[in-house]
């Protein structure tokens, strides 16, 4: 065992890399909405990216440890508080921590997005069609429940209080896209407008997709688009539904769809869409398939080098009562000095 859920809600689920390979049966891959966060958590703990973690979809949750436990906190920065012997202290994000037994960990959303709690060894749960991740849209798994005890795999061992600089993807911004099967069904003037438009992420959104509101309020329409044949869809497809609003499909999307798709987001840029908080500005830049593959290769290299970018956590100046007096009294502070493990 190792971790007890004290408070949960519908957006708190087990996630891993999902279930590729069931497209022909209508089951999308699912898995972590932000796979980069999965890789960052694995790098911080020195373990496989295939292990199951807890995903929090812009909702709070609370946990209690039953043993000494290494964890990593990654993804959208949440407020993390550790209650230990009646004392509360904040935990830094994008960091590995050692938690003592009987401590209470509270995670609560700040700007929005998907946050991840990765325990060392991963969370043990039965494999369903090859994965542990909940796929609520498909009826696989369920949200975590209060009082539930999460069994953990063996900790591979490793340091704690390591931090990494997360790959940039929070707060919206420019997203690279390639042409989709139906891009040519949209008139050129609409494509030009699509390229120029800034979109705002709608507050509605989930693991299946997010709606994007054009800032100028003008929607898009492919002539005859309501009668096109249903065709395969993939995460990243930007679907134009009947009311003209773009909808970016995410990891838990349907596998076929009849609405025309104006473009497809590169898989390596999809976490930027998933993690954009409500109201964040997003825009789209078309690249060629060759450029897209190059971007994917760059992304794979960035993920592979995450472990090399780890550094020890420095004492947080904001957490120190008086940095100046500390320096005067304590003398030289080594740049490599870091806090004692709790």
């Amino acid at each position: 065992m190792g971790l007890i859920v004290l408070a949960s809600s519908a957006g708190v689920t087990l996630q891993d890399e999902g279930r590729p390979g069931w497209l022909a049966q209508g089951l999308s891959r699912g898995g972590a909405a932000d796979p980069v966060a999965l890789a960052e958590g694995a790098a911080l703990l020195g373990q496989s990216t295939g292990l199951a973690v807890v995903e929090l979809a812009n909702v709070p949750a609370r946990f209690r440890t039953t043993k000494t436990l290494r964890i990593a906190l990654t993804g959208a920065p949440f407020r993390a508080t550790l209650r230990e012997s009646g004392e509360d202290r904040p935990l830094t994000w994008n960091t590995s921590h050692a938690l003592p037994p009987g401590a209470e960990l509270s995670l609560s959303p700040a700007e929005g997005g998907f946050a991840y709690l990765a325990p060392a060894g991963g969370i043990e749960a039965p494999l369903v069609l090859g994965a542990r991740s909940a796929h609520l849209a498909a009826g696989i798994g369920r949200a975590l429940k209060a009082e539930e005890e999460l069994a953990l795999g063996p900790d591979p061992g490793g340091p704690v209080d390591m931090v990494l600089e997360p790959l940039p993807r929070f707060g919206g911004g420019e997203v690279r896209v390639v042409e989709s099967l139906q891009t040519s069904a949209f008139p050129p003037e609409q494509m030009e407008r699509f390229r120029r438009t800034t979109f705002r992420r709608d507050a509605r959104g989930n693991r299946m997709g997010v709606r994007l509101n054009p800032e100028n309020g003008m929607g898009f329409e492919a002539p005859g688009g309501l009668s096109i044949l249903s065709e395969i869809v993939q995460p990243g497809d930007i679907q134009i539904t009947g009311d003209g609003t773009p909808y970016v499909l995410l990891c838990e999307c349907q596998t076929t769809g009849g609405y025309p798709r104006i473009a497809t987001v590169l898989p390596c840029d999809l976490p930027r869409v998933a993690q954009a908080p409500p109201g964040a500005a997003l825009s789209f830049r078309f690249v060629s398939r060759a450029e897209g593959r190059e971007a994917m290769a760059d992304h794979a290299r960035a993920l592979a080098s995450l472990r090399d970018s780890l550094r020890p956590r420095l004492r947080d100046p904001a957490a120190m009562a008086d940095l100046l007096s500390y320096n005067l009294i304590g003398g030289v502070v080594s740049a490599h000095h870091h806090e004692d493990a709790p």
Partner: protein, 243 residues
């Protein structure tokens, strides 16, 4: 030379071979047969394949150079008359009792009117049409079924219906979709079944396969309520030679 089949990229890591601009029985068979051939070829760049109504999809390793694969795919597509290929083997006839009454068919009147039929004629047409599973998609185990007579060529709704229940039978563009899970949809609901199309815990998690013949015999609301409590949903499965 014909424009079809058409080979096109889909996203940065996909290819789609489309056999026709519209749904047709031969084009659906072609897509199923090509998928079978690609699976048998075991090309190293291919990570996954699937079919839609008239197309075959290949998901590729996004980091591999696709030029060799594209050439092999072009040659395979050009090597045969795929529209003349037979359906996959081991097809079955699956009867799924369906309630076409009242709240179980909230958009049946509207759909019938668009098809130029009375409600009774529409139910009769849906219950007696020779239908088969064209492809599985959207949700796990969820079939696209066809093809209905041409009067059923009615478009999807512009405004989505917020929610249909699992087992809902819906219609658009000469096809039926039977919903595997509760969902919002742009298709019109014309009936309700007790079908359980996907059960992740079962040895055979998916009830239907492309190529299966299907029928939707009418039952009244009381019978449907009883079938909802029956794990099989009243569904019968038998081997068939029908194609």
């Amino acid at each position: 030379m014909s424009d079809w089949p058409r080979i096109a990229p889909a996203g940065v890591d996909g290819m789609v071979v489309t056999f026709a601009p519209r749904l047709s029985e031969p084009a659906n068979r072609a897509a199923l047969a090509l998928r079978g051939a690609i699976e048998a070829a075991r090309w190293p760049e291919v990570q996954e394949t699937a079919v839609s109504l008239v197309s075959t999809y290949l998901r590729l390793d996004p980091l591999a150079d696709p030029s060799g694969l594209e050439e092999r795919l072009r040659r395979l597509v050009g090597a045969r008359d795929w529209m003349a290929e037979p359906l996959p083997g081991e097809r079955r006839l699956i009867r799924i009792p369906t309630c076409y009454d009242g709240d179980h068919a909230p958009q049946l009147d509207e759909a019938a009117e668009m098809a130029g039929l009375t409600r009774a004629q529409a139910v009769d047409a849906l219950a007696s049409a020779p239908l088969r599973v064209l492809t599985i998609g959207f949700a796990p185990g969820q079939p696209y079924i066809g093809e209905l007579p041409s009067e059923w060529d009615i478009p999807r709704l512009r405004q989505l219906t917020p929610r249909v229940k699992a087992g809902a039978l819906t219609v658009a563009i000469r096809q039926l979709v039977l919903f595997a899970v509760a969902a919002q949809t742009g298709w019109r609901q014309v009936g309700q079944t007790a079908a359980r199309l996907f059960d992740p815990a079962a040895a055979q998690p998916f009830l239907l396969r492309p190529g299966d013949a299907v029928a939707f015999p009418p039952v009244d609301a009381d019978r449907l309520a009883a079938l909802m409590r029956d794990p099989s949903g009243g569904i019968s499965i038998e081997p068939t030679a029908w194609a």
